[in-house]
Amino acid sequence: MTGGWDEIYRENILDHYKHPRHHGTLANPDITYEDANPLCGDHLRMDLKVKDGKVDQVAFSGHGCSISQASASMLCERIEGQPIEAIKQLSRDDVLEMLGIELGPVRLKCALLALKTLKAGVWGITQWPGEDESA
């Protein structure tokens, strides 16, 4: 594992976990995708409304640990208004930079579940280029 809990549970992560942004589901989403982390049972759904090739509205739902939930909340904040094409290019490093913490291999899967779910949704496939690096 990496450092102590105070390094992992930085204020921004706890804030997003306790007060998640964009939490819920959207009626008639243009893109919706669900995925799970079989190791820990975390489950995530992402709903997107798309207008002019950009994310008009986004929401996430499901259950999981603080890292997976905070990561989803931050990711939703980050992609609102962004072009779908740009979202397709998001990488694992973008998510880790956003979280600002170092994670061990198991918690990394928690952190990347939101990205995995989102990218599967926007690509419209379950596997995408570079999955091995980000999964």
């Binding site: 594992m1 450092g3 102590g4 809990w5 105070d6 992992i8 549970y9 706890l14 976990y17 306790k18 190791l39 820990c40 049972g41 975390d42 489950h43 259950h63 999981g64 640990c65 603080s66 890292i67 918690r107 928690c110």
Partner: protein, 430 residues
Amino acid sequence: MPRVIGGAPETGQAPARPAPAPRPAFDPARVRADFPILRATNPKPLIYLDSAATSQKPDAVIEAMRDYYASYNANIHRGIYRIAEQATAAYEDARLRLSRFIGAGSPREVVFTRNSTEALNLIAYSWGRSNLKSGDALLLTEMEHHSNLVPWQILAAERGIELRFIPMTAGGELDLEALPGLLRDGKVRLASVVHISNVLGTVNPIAAIAAQVHAAGALLVVDASQSVPHCPVDVRALQCDFLACTSHKMLGPTGIGALWGRGVLLEAMPPFLGGGEMIREVHLTHSEWNELPWKFEAGTMPIAEAVGLRAAVAYLEALGMDAVFDHDRALATYAMERLAEVPDLRLIGPPAGRRGGVVAFTLGTIHAHDVATVLDSDGIAVRAGHHCAMPLHQKLGIHATVRASFHAYSLPSDVDALVAGLHKARKVFA
């Protein structure tokens, strides 16, 4: 007669074995001193509460394996030279020791495998594929580890076999009132049941289940992954037909486990894996199989691991399995008392006294992974998640639990550290 956990009621017969030599009183602090990983203080002392996942290893096991590699490393059952014979003798002595440890009638009924999972797969592939046909049923339980579900699911899908399940109560115990109904139509050919649950610590009444299963004309497999390492196990008292166990949970190395089966059943079963050692005669197009137990041991086996397992069995025998089990249960009881002090903590499973050294719980709405991460920052190792028992968690309506599990080296102070860590976790996520 040795005490038997989940076995037949005591008959009051005179003991069949000579009285054991008196042994020193069980002292977990002295046991702990035998484990290098628990002696280490750098970067910080390890508070290890994940023995149900794998146990730590004493010096005696590590040294026995080092000695094999350093002084008599050779392949077994082949070489005609001194160290090859020494290695073969050590490997076969490991089998003999383990067979006595679990009360097997003969070492030829003990087949070395990679682990319990492989032992269960061996039954499913070898016995299952030569004895089951479409329309037959297999009986499992709702509290099984994935290793005692998935091999049977594969077999069931392949052969058109029905899977049935002994239900689990909300209290985490098997509902045996359902058993007669599950067996009534005579379609069940084999039942496979966990002895001690890896999540809940529940000790299942194997001999009582065996009686009903046998009366219905079926065989009984016992997944003893969590019982052989922690309590006296005697396959005759359990009255089962097969039993699977694994070395790495019983203070031994990873990479070796065992299947015990009644000789007459193993004799009739075809090999599981083909290769060297498992044959008597090989022709280009066909072969004749070796005798038991080597018929099931294809290729070079994990020799150093067998040597390590032998040392682990000797170590456990010296501690005394009654003492180990009493210690585990006392710690579980203490842990349940202390954990009840933590607000919002919900214990899962049967009450103290009806479980082994395993305590699983949830802490309010805090995810098990988050609890484990906070504990890890204090050097406390627990398991978080579904512990390879997703159906069990689904049945209880829980996504994940935190699990603390003990072994002979665990101390009440480990539990105290856990409780302090849980208070801290509540503060972080308040």
